[in-house]
């Protein structure tokens, strides 16, 4: 019997229903579908929460629209997705009172990001400004960090913002090497085997625990519900090749069918392994220094292209320094990947369609396709290039997104003040 004390609130019930909304036709748009395809000067029709039709300029829409919007040369993308981030769980990194992403202790598989997700964060509007509409709110730290949830950035409360509740369990794989402070060098982690075996044992214990009605409730083990049936993903945060291989092998052994590698800075060196085991990768941010000093100087820039070429399913993230506020640079990281060999539409997919697939929300989100959610952005120019990005409109489930941005307001307010002062002096 499965423990149903806390978990399982039907996701569908959380999404407010706009089934009988307006029909809108967007014309003369450059449609970046998010699945690798592109329609120049295309058309898209939405109705209520859904996209109902996508076509070329010469195609005839299936029905007449209540409203037609001419986008003349603008670019439409599915809303960008930022995976594996503490967005909504922290406001000011250095202020303890605002840090809700790391529970005390090492094993917190039961910590749930969704319930702490702050829909009123002042960071959200700055992400939306650059086209990020969906995040995977993710706890951090320890061996078992907790449960993430996929959230959109325009909800009034966390329930409304939730797209997929408790979508995955996040674990930090132990490192083969550890930093030795007195030597100032990396040395072999002598506890590695023990740490791995402890981690494996926790999975085994959880598996046993979930087999029958437990004598006493153990919230930590109960949190593994869904992990072995593949309804809850396991996201393993790990970077180096030999650690990745260990992580995948061990997790498969304990019954995790499709672990997702998060970070994966070294993934490019073991593409065959990843393909063989069908392991998707949430890549740590490309705007990072190479993992090893002897690596190619642009390795993190070219990793996306190398994974794509090999056929590994991957998406981008902003794991690294300033991980939350820096999410707004995710589109530009995709842009960098293009400069270093990734085909443009695959770069788009790496922050939309493929991200949705990896997070398990691709039934509804991540691509511009008939039958999927009308969650998209409209940019005047190429949205992966800071030189040209300018996002005027965004929609989540067909609803226009509140684009008011505190930073823009400050800018306007103070620019006006200073202009006035300077004019009066002249």
């Amino acid at each position: 019997m499965k423990n149903k004390v806390l978990f399982f609130i039907a996701v569908g019930a959380l999404i407010s229903c706009h089934a009988f909304g307006q029909t809108v036709l967007y014309r003369q748009a450059n449609l970046h579908l998010g699945n690798g395809a592109f329609i120049e000067n295309g058309q898209m029709m939405t109705e209520g929460v859904d996209i109902v039709w996508i076509g070329k300029s010469t195609d005839t829409p299936p029905k007449s629209a209540d409203k037609t919007i001419d986008l003349s040369g603008k670019h439409v993308y599915p809303g960008f997705i930022a995976p594996a981030t503490a967005t909504g769980l922290v406001e000011v990194e250095s202020v303890r009172a605002t840090r809700d992403f790391r529970e005390v202790g090492s094993d917190n598989p039961n910590a749930r990001a969704a319930v702490a997700f702050n829909t009123d964060s002042r960071i959200h509007p700055t992400l939306k400004y650059n086209g990020i509409l969906i995040v995977q709110a993710t706890p951090e730290g320890g061996r078992f960090s907790g449960l993430s949830s996929v959230m959109h950035l325009d909800g009034r409360n966390w329930e409304e913002a939730t797209l997929r509740l408790d979508d995955g369990l996040h674990i930090n794989w132990p490192g083969k090497m550890r930093y030795n402070r007195s030597k100032g060098k990396l040395v072999e982690n002598e506890n590695y085997d023990q740490q791995v075996s402890d981690l494996v044992q926790t999975f085994k214990d959880a598996h046993g625990y979930l087999q029958g009605k437990p004598a006493t409730i153990n919230l930590k083990l109960a949190a593994f519900d869904g992990v072995f049936s593949d309804t809850k993903k396991v996201f393993v945060h790990v970077n180096k090749a030999w650690e990745i291989m260990d992580a995948v092998n061990k997790l498969k052994e304990v019954g995790v069918k499709h672990p997702v590698v998060v970070g994966g800075m070294d993934a490019h060196s073991i593409v065959n392994f990843l393909l063989k085991h069908e392991i998707p990768v949430i890549l740590g941010r490309p705007h990072e220094l190479p993992l090893y000093s002897d690596d190619a100087i642009d390795q993190p820039y070219s990793t996306p292209a190398q994974l794509q070429e090999a056929g590994v399913l991957f998406c981008l993230s902003n794991i690294g320094r300033m991980p939350v506020m820096g999410n707004r640079n995710i589109p530009f990281m995709a842009g960098t990947a293009v400069a270093y060999g990734l085909e443009y539409e695959y770069a788009v997919a790496s922050i939309t369609g493929n991200a949705a697939k990896i997070l398990g929300i691709d039934m509804r989100y991540g691509t511009l396709e008939a039958g999927k959610s009308a969650t998209f952005i409209v940019s005047d120019g190429d949205a992966l290039n800071m030189e040209t990005q300018s996002i005027g409109m965004a929609f989540i489930d067909g609803q226009p997104v509140d684009m008011e941005n505190w930073q823009e307001i400050l800018y306007r307010k103070w620019s006006e003040k200073i202009e006035k002062i300077q004019q009066s002096k002249n």
Partner: protein
């Protein structure tokens, strides 16, 4: 000067000779030290390159009284037959703490909130790391166990010092004899010692290497001042101590090559010729040390074979680790080839003689090696008589089985100050050979034997050896035998016996006849270079991935013509297509259309490409070693980033690949008044010194806000002043008033105070401030402080609320150097907006975009492009924020920042509009030199990979041949940010 030094040495020598009989005596004396000994039949090397075969040494009363081939042996002499063995002068160990306890270990990593001043309890200096008054002689206690081990390894004399602190006091020269400290101490005060390691001091200052350097520099300045005092009103015992031993040799303990080099430079400022107790990696900075009069005491503890058996572990090993393993044994050889003088230290060496053998293999001659062990150290410590076996010199020598560079050697006797220490009988028996025993033939080779019986049976195996007894067990059919032999000389056997197992009866073997013997009696190992490896090809500079082969002359064209390029000159309002640019001798010599190809020019087709000035990072922390913050105090204006520039940082090369060519290397922001900046060009392939921009204006880092208040460093950090922005203002006033008084009261004329000197320079307009700042109140405050004291703030860096005080910045004349889009990481950046740069620029403030981050520093063009995303609309103005504008801020715009004739040829050729996300730097020039070429990058990578493969293969072979394997360790690159407090910051990935 030199003569008087010798005189002092001689005088103290006399003291040593006369000081033996002061102790009270009891019982019956058995002093044999006055006996005369004659060591005969010896192969003597009296000094490097000087040999006497079949020689005689007469020792009497601690000294060599005669030496030669055919000299008269006094009748009363006790004769010792050296049996043709080798005699060498005792080695002198200069880097030792023999007879001294290890210093107390204090937890330095705890990181206190501030430095603690000593409370004037004694008349020493305020900093506990200055232990100049410490003397090894007062702590010295003979340690016979350690002495015995050293004597067995040929070491007879050591210079011992207490290894604690930055000024470590004086060292003592002692002989390794157990005759009592009165006798073993040759010179109580023989040397002075220094380091940059504060050791057991619990004080927070200095927390960085540049801090340690500043502290030592100030101490030497203080010493000069103290020396010049005619009438001493104050007593400073640490200066007193330094003053007393100024004529002694100065030793400096360097933990790495750059530390040594920095110490040498610092010493030179004060005419102190530091002898560097080296680190073994000096060959890595050959161009820096070549041609200088640096003397090194080189360690010989070479690294074990890198742990490369697991291919993934091999990946953890950097090219630096791998190359160092290969080259470390060649360190001395390389230095010798480049005329750099050295001695050796055996600290950390397990097997001295096999190490000497390795040195021989590296191509060094016995003469050079012996010189580094005897005459060089003796000369350096002003005791030349200790370096050679000669008439009148103290009798310091050892007798060994083989010559100096033999793979395995054995010291039989070691004579220290005429005292004999027997380690093993000289007449050791040579067992190798072929023997005929009662018709059986026995062959002995190493520890293996082969016995061929009369009946033609072959038995072989290993045997156990005890002294001169040899025991061979074997069996034939069911019978078990033990053969027992006793050796009495070279291949001489007496009492051969054979035991039968069944009866335990002894049967005496007759007819023992020695057919031949092996033995090494006369085999001199002079030159053992059998694995000569051409180090020249393996040397890279900088010693890092993508370093240049040092000994390969790289073609450096003087002239380039970049044709038909779109030029972002930064002086024209829009980019100009179709331009030609000529680079000549490091400068931009001509800009025009359809220029004639100059003679010998390399022509680069720039069509479809864009040319911009090299990007300039106003705020960078790359290329800095051992601490970016001197966080021990709220004011550290005495420290200089220029002291600790690191030319090997891989990020220099990585940033070149992003078009960055010049940077201000700033002190961190841990305190209100930080340290002095270094303005550098990213001249990859040049030394740290050569990276610094010639005659660059002087800069200093200031900081305001949360970092200087220690707001985010934990609950313990609440006692250092200031803890509020109110306090910051008052601290600034206090510091500048102190500086004003220092400069005007005559104090400055008496004694330079490095801390106040930097502030005095600010007050005089000779030093510019780049101030880390966030909120508008503090920015405004600092401008008011500056206005009231009559100086200007040159640059507010970060200046994230600059958009709120842009009008005031403009009026004051301060520039703003900001992040493109950082915020939300602490409270004071809550109102930081990415529109800041655009807003400041619009208000007329000179605006730049900076990195403060090693990664971001290699895509500054994209950071500038964000200005177009957030409020800006002019691409040229945006690009100026990472070129001309920072050049102006750094007062270097007459040389860099724009593409104009006559300016430095710091240029970047881009694949696209430089502000486009698609733009990649294709070629980066610094001073007209092509330092990054993307088209050659694949080749570079292949060169690196090939070298790795070669070394990993070599390491695998070495491991397979049984050489010891090192515990896995790998180097990491330190990465600094403004708020990095530790010496080494590990950025977890």
């Amino acid at each position: 000067m030199k003569k008087s030094m010798l005189l002092i040495a001689l005088l103290s020598w006399c003291n040593w000779a006369l000081s033996q009989s002061l102790h009270s005596r009891e019982g019956i004396q058995d002093d044999r030290s006055k006996l005369t000994y004659a060591i005969i039949n010896a192969n003597i090397t009296t000094a490097p390159g000087k040999k006497i075969t079949n020689g005689i040494i007469i020792v009497q009363d601690g000294k060599v009284v005669n030496i030669g081939q055919s000299i008269t042996i006094p009748k009363n002499a006790v004769t010792i037959d050296a049996d043709g063995k080798y005699v060498y002068p005792s080695f002198i160990e200069l880097n030792s703490n023999f007879g001294l306890r290890s210093p107390d270990k204090k937890d330095k990593s705890g990181g206190g909130p501030e430095y603690e001043r000593t409370d004037g309890k004694s008349a020493f200096g305020w900093n506990k790391a200055i232990r100049a008054d410490q003397s090894a002689s007062s702590l010295f206690e003979h340690d016979e166990d350690a002495a015995k081990k050293m004597r067995e390894n040929g070491i007879g004399i050591v210079l011992s010092h207490y290894q604690d602190g930055i000024a470590r006091g004086t060292g003592s020269l002692v002989a390794l004899t157990d005759a009592g400290e009165n006798i073993s101490m040759i010179q109580a005060v023989a040397s002075t010692h220094f380091s940059f390691d504060k050791g057991s001091s619990s004080q927070q200052y200095p927390s960085s290497q540049m801090g340690a350097m500043a502290l030592l520099r100030q101490t030497f300045i203080d010493l000069e001042w103290y020396r010049g005092q005619k009438e001493i009103n104050e007593k400073h015992l640490h200066l007193e101590a330094l003053k007393c031993c100024e004529k002694l040799p100065n030793f400096f303990s360097a933990t790495d090559k750059m530390t040594g080099l920095r110490a040498f430079r610092l010493g030179a400022e004060f005419k102190r010729d530091f002898i560097l107790l080296g680190s073994g990696d000096e060959y890595q900075i050959l161009p820096d040390i070549q041609g200088k009069s640096i003397r090194y005491v080189l360690p010989l503890n070479f690294p074990d074979v890198p742990a490369v058996q697991h291919p993934m572990m091999a990946r953890e090993m950097s090219i630096r680790d791998l190359k160092h393993w290969e080259l470390a044994p060649y360190n001395a050889r390389i230095l010798h080839d480049h005329k750099i003088e050295f001695a050796f230290t055996f600290e950390g060496v397990k097997n001295v003689f096999s190490t000497l053998h390795l040195l021989g293999k590296s191509g060094l001659s016995e003469e050079t090696i012996l010189g580094a062990l005897t005459t060089n150290p003796a000369r350096w410590i002003h005791f030349e008589s200790l370096g050679a076996i000669a008439k009148g010199n103290p009798a310091n020598f050892f007798i060994s089985r083989d010559s100096l560079l033999a793979e395995k050697n054995q010291v039989y006797e070691h004579w220290v100050m005429g005292r004999r220490y027997q380690i093993k009988e000289i007449s050791e028996y040579q067992m190798e050979g072929v023997y005929v025993l009662d018709g059986d033939t026995l062959e002995i080779k190493k520890s293996k034997f082969t016995l061929t019986t009369k009946a033609g049976q072959n038995i072989s195996g290993t045997f156990s050896k005890k002294n001169n007894q040899l025991t061979i067990p074997y069996s034939i059919d069911d019978e078990f035998f033990v053969l027992n032999l006793e050796f009495t000389g070279h291949g001489q056997i007496s009492n051969p016996s054979r035991y039968f197992s069944e009866s335990s009866k002894v049967k005496i073997i007759a007819d023992v006849k020695v057919v031949s013997t092996g033995g090494t009696k006369d085999s001199t190992v002079q030159s053992v270079v059998d694995e000569y490896f051409d180090y020249k090809a393996a040397l890279w500079y900088p010693f890092q991935a993508y370093g240049n082969p040092l000994m390969v002359e790289k073609e450096k064209p003087e002239t380039y013509l970049i044709k038909n390029v779109t030029l972002w000159s930064m002086v024209h309002e829009i980019p100009q297509p179709g331009m030609d640019v000529i680079i000549r001798k490091g400068k931009i010599s001509k800009i025009g259309v359809n220029l004639k190809v100059p003679k010998g020019a390399v022509v680069i087709d720039g069509s479809e490409m864009h040319l911009s000035p090299g990007l300039i990072d106003e705020h960078s922390h790359i290329a800095i070693s051992r601490g970016v913050n001197e966080s021990g105090s709220s004011i550290s204006s005495e420290v200089r980033i220029g002291d600790v520039v690191n030319h090997e940082d891989i990020n220099i090369y990585r940033q070149l690949s992003g078009g960055t060519t010049a940077s201000q290397l700033l002190h961190g922001s841990a305190n209100v008044i930080g340290g002095q900046s270094a303005l550098v060009k990213l001249r990859w392939g040049q030394s740290a010194e050569a990276m610094k921009i010639e005659n660059a204006p002087k800069f200093i880092k200031f900081a305001l806000g949360e970092n200087v208040k220690q707001s985010n460093w934990g609950d313990r950090m609440n006692v250092r002043y200031p803890q509020t922005r109110m306090g910051v203002e008052q601290f600034l006033f206090e510091s500048f008033y102190r500086a004003q008084s220092y400069g005007t009261s005559g104090e400055r004329a008496r004694r330079i105070d490095l801390e106040l000197e930097a502030l005095w320079e600010i007050l005089n307009g000779e030093r510019h401030i780049s101030c880390h700042s966030y909120v508008q109140s503090e920015i405004n405050m600092l401008m008011k402080v500056a206005d009231s004291m009559g100086f200007k703030i040159n640059t507010f860096t970060h200046v994230l609320e600059g958009y709120k005080v842009a009008d005031k910045l403009k009026v004051h004349g301060a520039a703003g150097s900001t992040f493109s889009d950082w915020w939300a990481y602490k409270m004071e950046v809550n109102e930081a907006i990415p529109f800041n740069a655009a807003a400041m620029a619009k208000a007329g403030v000179l605006t730049a975009i900076n990195s403060d981050d090693a990664e971001m520093g290699r895509r500054l063009n994209h950071e500038a492009a964000k200005v177009l995303r957030y409020g800006g609309d002019d691409p040229v103005e945006a690009l100026k924020m990472v070129t001309l504008n920072p050049a102006k801020m750094l007062h270097l715009d007459h040389r860099i920042g724009s593409v104009e004739e006559g300016k430095d040829a710091d240029l970047v050729l881009w694949s696209d509009v430089p502000l486009s996300i698609n733009a990649r730097a294709i070629k980066t020039f610094v001073d007209g030199e092509l330092l990054f070429d993307r088209e050659a990058q694949e080749e570079e990578q292949m060169r690196l990979r090939k070298e790795r493969v070669r070394l990993i293969k070599k390491a695998l072979q070495a491991a397979n041949s049984g050489k010891p394997i090192a515990t896995p360790e790998s180097e990491i690159d330190s990465e600094y940010h403004c708020d990095t407090l530790e010496e080494i910051h590990f950025h977890e990935k």
